[in-house]
Symmetry: C2
């Protein structure tokens, strides 16, 4: 069974680079990678925060949050 990986971003340049260089680098044979734009999918913010995501871009792999560089705090994406 593949491990779930969710890449959260907000369309920022730092996010786009991380998506192309890190999220897309994961082994597709072992990981199911989902890309979520939190600016456009605000209903997903709650789950991201519950997983420990504090800023974007970030990737949650097997439930563990990894913040990749820094684009924006998650608080800036609310409202």
């Amino acid at each position: 069974m593949k491990t779930s990986a969710v890449f959260y971003h907000a369309g920022c340049p730092v996010c786009v680079e991380a998506e192309h260089q890190v999220a897309e680098a994961l082994d597709p044979n072992r990981y199911d990678v989902e890309i979520v734009h939190l600016g456009e999918q605000k209903s997903r913010i709650e789950a991201a925060e519950a997983a420990g995501v504090k800023s974007v871009p970030a990737i949650v792999i097997g439930g563990a949050p990894f913040h990749i560089n820094f684009g924006a705090p998650i608080s800036a994406l609310k409202g």
Copy 2:
């Protein structure tokens, strides 16, 4: 040709988790991943800094630095 990826760490718990969950998640068919312990291989610090690494753990993929969470500043590994 595979893309070069260098994962820099210092043995810290944050580093070990990032190594196991992110560095080892990269697709081995597309990436050559090297793991470098900067605390033990201080001669590699200069190249890490030249690539833009400011803290560990970090992974340099195709020349671009990505800091993953935060374990220690690279300055703490010198001397």
